[in-house]
Amino acid sequence: MNVPDIPENASRCICPNCPTYNDCMSSDKQNLFCSRGKSSCKIDSNGCICGECPVADQYRLNNLYYCEP
């Protein structure tokens, strides 16, 4: 199911709480990767919390690491 890029979803996004979220993502204020696509930053996979996200729950997303290139 597609995730609309709307303020409500961005505000509920938990990407910044994730152990994989890094300074590069933070400096660019990147989030909502499940809607906006992968990150432009270099990523070390340090775990994924997409399965706990209320956005993923609402849109019935089953995958992990939406941020990963």
Binding site: I14, P16, N17, C18, P19, S45, N46, G47, C48, I49, G51, E52, C53, P54, A56, D57, L61, N62, L64
Partner: protein, 365 residues
């Protein structure tokens, strides 16, 4: 209005608030044979961010230990804030506590288990020994979880898979994704399934809870799936519990839609009437931080297990009806009812201690 009023409970029972102002109360451990004096310890509660509270027979509560984490938690729920001091159990003979937790070794996140000692009858921690350490971990869920002492007197420790690589749960050289069996000093028992290895069973993902059932002398765990197949497992010696290939393997039951089971316990000490004898009660937390009632978690469910290994009945036993972030987390039967904690409580300001509660459910007579 009492915090207990924010919970619906199964007909024939009532909920009362026992303690308030607890900082992220995660799990509960009763003293197996509490002393007779009013000041003797009755139970302990571990706060996720490194505190242990003792409650005495007379209901008074004090800090048993604090500052047990060597890093500053970040209060990010869901996410990196869902980690810290997770497991607790009481050693019956000495009254010592076993505690499982994260720690930082320079910039690396690791897991350890410590055994605490008291010089005042269990009211404050005087010192501790490290039983197990240096296990790679993650500052998030899937860390080291429950610890328990089996009917054989050994220490059992639930380890999450570390979140990054699920295949660790099948690697016999890695303690993540395993149920470990140890002597109380951390040595490996001679009669473990694999000689020289602490592994009792493998193939678990995020096994928050552990409980021992008297009727079959077995360990049961609550394990959390990715987006499907949360489950309750009966853990047998040397068993492969399936993760990451099949979370339904060896499961007593599973939730297809995840509910996030945390602590669990059996009614086996006369806390409720015989009608509920040997029934299993499981706290299902739901999402890590959600205000108000929700479709996922924030409940306690009860089950009657069948002799064939599945379940005969399933009921919601407690459900949250308030507007706060409270959710069922710790759960344990005590001498006079079923106790549970609500982790976040009714209110939590960013970066401030939560105001969690300990509740007791009593059967009406």
């Amino acid at each position: 209005m009492s915090a207990a009023d924010n919970w619906w409970v199964f007909p024939g029972f009532e909920i009362e608030t026992v303690l308030s102002e607890l900082d992220l109360p995660a799990n509960i451990a009763f003293v197996p044979r509490p002393g007779p004096r009013p000041e003797d310890p009755l139970l302990y509660i571990n706060g996720l961010y490194g505190t242990v509270t003792v409650m005495r027979n007379d209901g008074r509560a004090d800090v048993y230990a604090g500052g047990l984490l060597n890093y500053e938690p970040d209060h990010k729920f869901p996410g990196t804030g869902e980690s810290g001091l997770t497991g607790i159990c009481v050693e019956p003979a000495s009254g010592d506590l076993f505690l499982s937790m994260l720690y930082f070794d320079e910039d690396k996140v690791k897991a350890r288990v410590i055994r605490t000692h008291s010089a005042d009858g269990g009211l404050t921690m005087e010192s501790y020994d490290t039983v197990l350490q240096n296990v790679p971990s993650i500052k998030a869920a899937h860390q080291v979880q429950a610890c328990s002492i089996g009917f054989d007197g050994k220490l059992y420790v639930n380890f999450g898979d570390g979140m990054i690589d699920p295949k660790t749960a099948q690697d016999d050289g890695d303690w993540r994704g395993k149920i470990l069996r140890l002597e109380l000093d951390g040595n490996i028992p001679d009669d473990n399934p694999m000689p020289g290895s602490p592994i009792f069973a493998k193939g678990v993902r995020n096994p928050f809870g552990a409980a021992w059932r008297r009727s079959d002398q077995s360990l049961y765990i609550a394990d959390n799936g990715p987006h499907v197949d949360d489950r309750v497992c009966r853990v047998t010696r040397g068993e492969n519990l399936g993760w990451p290939d099949d979370l339904r393997r060896a499961s007593v039951m599973w939730w297809n839609f995840c509910q996030a089971p945390t602590a669990l316990d059996f009614n086996q000490t006369g806390s409720f009437s015989d009608y509920y004898d040997d029934e299993l009660f499981v706290a299902v937390f739901g999402s890590a931080y959600v205000k108000g009632p929700t479709h996922k978690g924030k409940k306690i469910v009860k089950m009657s297990l069948s002799d064939e290994g599945g379940i005969k009945s399933y009921d919601e036993f407690v459900a949250y009806t308030g507007e706060g972030p409270a959710s069922c987390c710790g759960l344990a039967f005590g001498p006079d009812g079923l106790y549970f904690t609500d982790l976040h409580g009714e209110f939590e300001a960013d970066g401030q201690p939560s105001r969690g509660h300990l509740f007791r459910i009593k059967e009406l007579t």
